[in-house]
């Protein structure tokens, strides 16, 4: 028996895997939701924390997690980010130093496909599909051989796949972008999973066309459930083009956003929704949840999850007059790049600045 909880932390990612052996956390976004969850499930021992990449909405919660004296963290896995200069990154290094020295937390400065061996559990396998060790050696901001595009921190996102009894169940690709996807597919041409936590909260995949990117990703993953971990109030996610790509490549899939996007409903429901599960969710305040926190249970032939598809879709039907996942949105956003006839955007210098400055 095992569970994977995809927390509604607003804009950001955080998932917790629990099995008979213990718990593993994958990314830790801003705020208190993770801590509330751990308290509710009485989890005080965490075997490992896996960090896809060091953007604030994936690491800020780790800072607080490490500061909880009653929670024992066994190990933290994350990749080197030479170019990152943010204050948050520096604060995390301080917190890691403290945790390592005082509380014997093992800090692994690598989370690549090689790390999978260190993460082996019983019936559950935590696979790291990307980056490959060689790509990690190049590092964010670096140039892989063969005149390929520079690697951004997003492209370097660790891609985690949860495999239960040899069935690939969940794919958690951090903020993977089109460049990262190409590297992933070079190693794993068919990264199947029944559940996909869509990368970058359904935001833009750097310079690639959002619709193409979404369609390509969904075509190779072939998920039945596609989750968008978003905030209603920030960043105007998911991008309509992304949803369009998902609908096109995975027409039967259940699309579930943690919160109700402003794109789908101008107003929030006045009463708390009834379809949500009992787990903490950031969107509980102000009734901002759409699917809220999503919890998957494995162990049977088909995994089940809450909130159930039917009750979630009934909620969307009722409360989201312009729901993108129902094809109701107009899909007309003001996008200056999407010129007439879908013309190519002007070419620019390669690569992204990696750190926040």
């Amino acid at each position: 028996m095992a569970e994977l909880t995809i927390l509604d932390v607003g804009h950001g990612n955080c998932a917790i895997l629990r099995d008979d052996r213990g718990a593993v956390i994958i990314d830790a976004g801003l705020g208190e939701t993770l801590l509330e969850f751990l308290e509710q499930r009485e989890i005080t021992v965490i075997d490992a924390v896996l960090i896809s990449h060091a953007d604030a909405d994936h690491i800020a919660g780790l800072l607080t997690l490490l500061a909880q004296e009653h929670i024992a963290v066994g190990a933290v896995f994350l990749n080197t980010e030479t170019l990152r200069q943010t204050a948050l990154w520096h604060a995390l290094l301080v917190a890691l130093t403290d945790a390592r020295r005082r509380r014997a937390v093992k800090v692994h400065a690598q989370l690549t496909s090689t790390s999978s061996e260190l993460l082996r559990r019983d019936e559950i396998e935590i696979q790291i599909l990307a980056p490959s060790p060689e790509i990690a050696l190049v590092g964010a901001g670096g140039q892989p051989p063969g005149d390929r595009p520079l690697l951004s921190a997003n492209a370097m996102s660790a891609v985690v796949r949860i495999v239960v009894n040899e069935i690939p169940e969940v794919l958690l690709p951090g903020d993977l972008d089109a460049v990262g996807l190409e590297h992933l597919l070079a190693e794993y041409p068919e990264p199947r999973a029944r559940v996909l936590v869509f990368p970058h909260h359904g935001g833009r995949p750097a310079r690639a066309d959002p619709e193409d990117f979404a369609a390509r990703l969904c075509a190779v993953v072939r998920a039945d459930l596609v989750v968008f971990s978003i905030s209603r109030r920030k960043h105007a996610t998911p991008q309509p083009e992304v949803i369009r790509g998902v609908l096109q490549a995975a027409p039967g899939a259940h699309i579930a956003c943690t919160q109700l996007s402003e794109r789908c409903a101008a107003r929030l429901p006045s009463a708390p929704p009834t379809h949500l599960n009992e787990r903490p969710a950031r969107g509980h305040v102000g009734n901002a949840c759409c699917a809220g926190t999503i919890e998957l249970t494995f162990g049977n032939a088909t995994p089940t999850y809450t909130p159930a598809r039917s009750s979630h879709q009934a909620f969307v039907e009722r409360e989201a007059p312009t729901a993108l996942c129902m094809g109701r949105g107009t899909f007309v956003g003001h996008t200056p790049e999407a010129g007439e006839g879908g013309e190519q955007r002007p070419s620019r210098r390669r690569g992204l600045p990696v750190a926040g400055k």
Partner: protein
């Protein structure tokens, strides 16, 4: 086991401006309570607290009580003192932008509900008092629960004659510095720009004005704690 709630019937109004107090009493009446206006002036916060305990079940306090010589303390201090003796109370201020950082933040740990004056309608008052009652029972909203976390000093400054600290609370928002009075930090902790501290903070807060900080502790100093401790 369910414990019966002490029912709120009378709500004390603490406001240095008599006409504002009258306005508030109308709102309280519409919220379904009996308003009781207190005055004329209070020397010490304990005087106010004991008067409220005698005459009312809850209170709603204006923050700025000093300008007209109404009291020698401010409303935030009064609400915090009332919290200590389990009287549910709401703090109201016209100038949330100006007061939140320093004079309110100092007491904010024990001020469950802060409303700006134009938000204070009967519904919000009702909700607010209910929230106070729950918090007095130890049931915090997610936005009010404190968690130990790492913070980083940005700078120290002076505001309204008081030393204040601007610090980042990265787990709450890594891009915004939050200001609070230096008096909250015990002496001896390093407040130099760039220094790290542990503190308990309600990192689930939505707005900066709802944040409170306490239980500051020394955090490792990456500069000086090098070889010898290694």
């Amino acid at each position: 086991m369910m414990v019966a709630e002490p029912e709120i019937r009378r709500v004390a109004i603490v406001d240095d401006d008599p006409s504002q107090a009258d306005v508030m009493s109308e709102l309280i009446r519409d919220a379904g309570y009996e308003p009781i206006i207190l005055g004329p002036r209070f020397e010490h916060v304990d005087d106010l607290v004991s008067k409220i305990r005698k005459s009312a079940d809850a209170a709603i306090c204006d923050h700025r009580l000093q300008p007209r010589g109404f009291a020698r303390f401010n409303g935030a201090e009064a609400v915090a003192a009332l919290f200590e003796v389990s009287v549910p109370s709401i703090l109201v201020t016209q100038y949330i932008d100006i007061d939140a950082d320093v004079s309110i933040r100092r007491w904010r740990r024990h001020v469950p509900v802060l409303l700006s004056r134009d938000e204070a309608d009967p519904d919000r008052i009702l909700q607010g008092l209910n929230q106070c009652v729950r918090e007095l029972r130890g049931e915090h909203l997610a936005s009010r629960r404190p968690w130990r976390t790492l913070i980083q000093v940005d700078d120290t400054n002076q505001e309204s004659g008081e030393q204040v600290v601007d610090a980042h609370i990265p787990s709450w928002n890594p891009h915004l510095a939050v200001r609070f009075p230096a008096a909250l930090v015990p002496p001896g902790l390093n407040l130099a720009p760039g220094a790290y501290l542990f503190a308990k903070v309600n990192i689930g807060a939505d707005r900066a004005e709802d944040l409170y900080l306490f239980d500051f502790e020394r955090a490792p100093d990456p500069e000086s704690e090098g070889v010898l401790l290694g």
